[in-house]
């Protein structure tokens, strides 16, 4: 109770309240703009938050992270263009509902399901906190090393059909993290006698290049377009009542979102597809899925909104980010010398509680904002994409240049901008690079400290959690190769005459 009250007092600071308001409403607008997304906004704002208190900076970024998916549902439902990539599945059922004249119903259901998923995840977090506080201290160097290794493996394997590229890009991320003066023996690594490489390649410079600058270049170069004018009429509150009739789908989808959110490297996409498949298989009207099924819409939105809350679990409890956005947030912790991990739960539980409560409040703010301002948002999102590119490029400059006032940083970020543009055009994953950089650094430090007490290889896994993590890694690899083997065997059989369901991606393989 004392921790809870202390958390409330942290949250009641005016700076936190302002950050919460700006983050949540800003996040909705950013999410609703097709072509921007939370990653771009967080990358741009990251350096600006370094001058704030950690709770203020994190609340602002969490606000954007947690609310962008609410906003992303609006263009997905009304104009068949997902605002953020994770809203792609929402178009399947949301847009057909709009075509039938039920746009307000679809939006209302999406908001209600998103709210349910978001709050469900935070309640799970709060309930799990005492358990986490008990388990987290059991994680020593070797456990954190194995968890980070598991994270990298999962990130690579999660990119089905792009495993080789995900592997090479994750390795590239690990490599980038090693460039510069090595901090223990003070030797230079891959600096090529260049002084600008001696201080290493900053994660934020890479993040800004890969996410923000690449998106700006892409928007400036591609054909200009803007969402058409739309207006929604009807009672937006009705979905709250309708959701009660779909509580089973909402609860199971949110639970899947929480589980997937906790596992590094899986995130929104996997949770959405699992929830959608579950909802379809257990529905009385499975044939309506993809043609305006309220259940499909609820499954997709509840699952993706449960992920941000759950993604905070590995970040806060172990200091291990599961995807790019939490990796960016990790740098806010480090800048303020707040080290996420077991100690955070032991010594700063009030800080953790304040973050959880901020997440709940942001969901309420967003829901209230959306119920009254959907039509206003529909006007805002009509910004032409090329003008959005101009805006992102100008804002990205603030992010890169304010770090160290370095022209070299700007040039490196621009280089990564072009690299990110190529990856986006080729549909190759960017996230493995960021996670490779962060998790590579964690693995290097933790292996060094863990091995000091290890005499034989078996000593490394002689503690229960280390043994469980090691077995998990082996199991995941075995299962993956087993799946590959069966897929390969099936491919050698005569090809079926019926066209593939996913005709856009006929060459997908694990």
């Amino acid at each position: 109770m004392e921790t809870l009250l202390s958390g409330v007092s942290i949250l009641l600071q005016w700076q936190v309240i302002v950050a919460l308001l700006i983050g949540s409403i800003g996040g909705v607008i950013i999410g609703a703009l097709p072509g921007v997304g939370a990653a771009v906004a967080i990358a741009i704002l990251l350096p600006a938050t370094f001058s704030f208190e950690p709770i203020v900076g994190l609340t602002l970024l969490l606000g954007i992270y947690g609310s962008s998916m609410y906003g992303g549902a609006i263009p997905a439902i009304l104009i068949n263009t997902p605002g953020t990539a994770v809203n792609a599945l929402t178009t399947y059922d949301g847009y057909p509902m709009t075509k039938r004249g039920q746009g307000h119903r679809a939006l209302s259901l999406a908001y209600s399901a998103s709210f349910f998923g978001g709050v469900f995840a935070i309640i799970c977090l709060m309930v799990l906190s005492p358990v986490l506080a008990l388990i987290a201290p059991q994680f020593g160097s070797r456990e954190i090393f194995l968890a980070a290794l598991l994270g990298i493996i999962l990130v690579v394997l999660a990119h089905r059909g792009q495993i080789f590229s995900a592997g090479m890009l994750a390795a590239f991320g690990v490599f980038l993290n090693t460039v510069g003066l090595e901090p223990v023996k003070y030797t230079r690594r891959f600096t090529f006698d260049q002084s600008w490489l001696a201080s290493g390649i900053d994660l934020i410079v890479v993040v800004l290049g890969l996410f923000a600058l690449s998106q700006a270049f892409l928007l400036l170069l591609e054909k200009n377009h803007a969402p058409q004018d739309t207006h929604v009429n009807g009672n937006i509150f009705a979905g709250l009542k309708e959701l009660l009739g779909l509580k089973r789908v909402a609860t199971v989808s949110s639970s899947i979102g929480v589980l997937m959110g906790m596992v590094p490297g899986t995130g929104e996409f996997t949770s959405q597809f699992l929830s959608y498949t579950y909802a379809q298989k257990t529905s009385k009207d499975p044939e309506k899925f993809g043609d305006g099924s309220p259940e499909g819409l609820v499954a997709s939105e509840a699952a993706n909104n449960a992920v941000p809350g759950a993604a905070m679990i590995p970040l806060l409890a172990l200091g291990i980010p599961g995807e790019a956005l939490t990796a960016m947030m990790l740098s806010v912790f480090y800048v303020h010398n707040v080290i996420p991990g077991p100690q955070l739960f032991e010594h700063q539980m009030d800080f953790v509680m304040a973050l959880y409560m901020a997440l709940i409040i942001l969901n309420v703010i967003v829901l209230v904002f959306l119920l009254f301002s959907t039509n206003l948002l529909l006007k805002i999102i009509q910004i032409p994409t090329r003008f959005l590119g101009v805006m992102i490029l100008i804002l990205a400059f603030v992010g890169v240049y304010s770090l160290r006032n370095s022209i070299t940083d700007c040039a490196i970020a621009a280089g990564f901008g072009v690299f990110g543009l190529i990856l986006k055009r080729l549909d190759l994953p960017i996230v493995p690079i960021i996670l490779g950089m962060v998790l590579g650094g964690i693995m290097e430090t933790k292996l060094r400290s863990a091995m000091a007490r290890v005499k034989t290889p078996l000593d490394f896994i002689d503690r229960p959690i280390a043994a469980i993590l090691f077995c998990l890694i082996i199991l995941i690899l075995i299962l993956h190769f087993r799946t590959l083997y069966f897929e390969f065997k099936n491919k050698l059989r005569p090809e079926p005459k019926v066209p593939a369901v996913d005709s856009d991606h006929p060459n997908q393989q694990g």
Binding site: P47, A48, S51, G161, F164, S165, M168, A170, A171, V174, F175, T178, E182, K185, T187, R188, R189, F190, F192, F217, L220, L221, R386, F387, G389, V390, M391, L393, I394, L395, F397, V398, Y401, S402, N405, I407, C410, A411, A414, G417, V418, L421, I422, R425, L426, D427, L428, G436, G440, M443, E444, L447, R448, M451, F488, K491, L492, P506, N507, Q509
Partner: protein
């Protein structure tokens, strides 16, 4: 038969230009591998897990292995048309890189506010919006960004050298907030 088996094993979803990127990344990885001995050091009386070269070695070998497999899967798949027009698209992005770097160089000289407003207006016109409304909005956007980030959030961006020539009454204000 071997070719068919390889194709079945490695076929994947691709877009035009994939093989060019695959080759470039593989060449880059092999180059890094060739530099491993030069660019990392072996420290005496230090165990393998604390050697500075351990993680670069792991990373570069993984890059070489995966980039080879990535190239292989691209090389044995059917050719997709439009490879060089896609490469041309990548090269065209260098134009905006150049504008961005000119803007970066201008900020410490002209000052954040004037350079940002100029850059916003120039890019808007370059993007095809030539109307006075669009130009006005671009200038306003540049102004608001400067005020929010430098004036309000006090983000670390140096004052412009030209601000020194402003009259005394405005100079201090410009040096701090613009």
């Amino acid at each position: 038969m071997i070719a068919k088996t390889l194709q079945d094993m490695f076929k994947r979803y691709r877009r035009p230009g994939d093989v060019v990127f695959a080759v470039l990344f593989m060449v880059f990885s092999v180059f890094l591998l060739s530099q491993l001995g030069e660019q990392t050091q072996v420290v005496k009386r230090t165990k393998w897990f604390a050697q500075p070269g351990l993680w670069p070695t792991v990373a570069v070998w993984c890059m070489v292995l995966f980039s080879f497999l990535h190239w292989l899967s691209s090389a044995i798949s059917d050719r997709i048309d439009g490879r060089w027009s896609e490469v041309g698209f990548w090269v065209r992005s260098l134009e905006y890189v150049a504008y961005f770097l000119i803007y970066v160089l201008l900020v410490p000289k002209l000052g954040y506010l004037p350079s940002t407003m100029l850059f916003a207006v120039f890019l808007t016109m370059r993007s095809g919006f030539r109307g006075s409304g669009a130009i006005g909005i671009a200038a306003l956007f540049g102004f608001v960004v400067t005020i929010v980030f430098r004036g309000f959030l006090q983000v670390k961006i140096p004052a412009g050298a030209v601000y020194e020539y402003l009259p005394d009454s405005v100079r201090a204000f410009a040096l701090t907030y613009l």
